[in-house]
């Protein structure tokens, strides 16, 4: 089954909506709570990244019996140096975003830690695509 969510850049009021909806779906599907927790952390961070950095984005969540696949695609400034962005503590977030307690440079590392695979492709000036896979059957 597939779910799609739109994410609005700059709108922190709705950040977490996709993560919260997916959490409910996974609970209804009786997915292992440990897996749900990891997926929720990774998805929330991805959502916040779009809100904090991009103009708009789309989240696609595809669930089958073997894995949960999440694609987070945004129109935004892109990431010039992905290795740098993956480093804990590195952030390009604005002062306002940091004041809210985001932008500590923990988002992408949290996503990597909480997914089985993480793939990022980015084009500067256009946007970023983040793909996360979590396997249900090991």
């Amino acid at each position: 089954m597939e779910f799609n969510y739109e994410v609005e850049g700059g709108n922190f009021a709705k950040a977490g909506y996709a993560a919260s909806s997916v959490k409910k779906v996974l609970k209804e599907l009786n997915v292992d709570p440990k897996i749900i927790k990891r997926v929720v952390v990774a998805l929330y961070e991805g959502e916040v990244n779009v809100v904090a950095h991009a103009y708009r984005g789309n989240i696609k969540v595809d669930i089958d019996t073997e894995r949960i696949f999440i694609e987070i695609k945004d129109e935004g400034p892109g990431i010039p140096d992905i290795n740098l962005a993956m480093q804990v503590g590195y952030s390009t977030a604005s002062a306002m975003v940091r004041e809210m307690g985001f932008g500590a440079g923990m988002g992408l590392p949290n996503m990597k830690r909480n997914a089985d695979t993480l793939d990022i492709s980015s084009s500067v000036g256009k946007g970023t695509v983040v793909e996360l896979t979590t396997y249900l059957v090991k």
Binding site: S20, G101, F102, M106
Partner: protein
């Protein structure tokens, strides 16, 4: 220990989310960085923070914390209060600073 016990012993004020006052408390987590809480807090912990905006409740709900305590008597935003009520996760307030409150909660949970 339940959220109500902590309210009584630490002299906390209930701002919102009364539905969750019987939540079981398994520990505490003190942080003002939302990603830190997302990555490291556990279900059932009481989260101590100075952040007052609604994203706090979004994180609290996703992580299923037992309650959130806002320190230094800071006032929660309206949207934070309504989300606390919607989620049924207690939003509490203390006049103490983070260090003192965390210390008192630690003592209470580890007598």
């Amino acid at each position: 220990m339940k959220v109500t016990d902590i309210i009584e012993k630490l002299n906390l004020k209930v701002i919102a989310g009364a539905e969750g006052l019987q939540n079981k408390v398994t520990g505490g987590y003190t942080s003002d960085l939302l990603s830190d809480v997302m990555g490291n807090a556990d279900e059932g912990q009481v989260w101590i923070t100075l952040q007052t905006h609604r994203n706090v409740m979004a994180v609290a709900s996703l992580k299923e914390v037992a309650a959130v305590i806002i320190v230094k008597g800071l006032e929660a935003e309206e949207s934070t209060i309504s989300q606390s009520n919607n989620e049924g996760i207690p939003l509490l307030s203390s006049d103490l600073e983070t260090f003192e409150l965390s210390g008192q909660l630690y003592q209470l949970l580890h007598p």
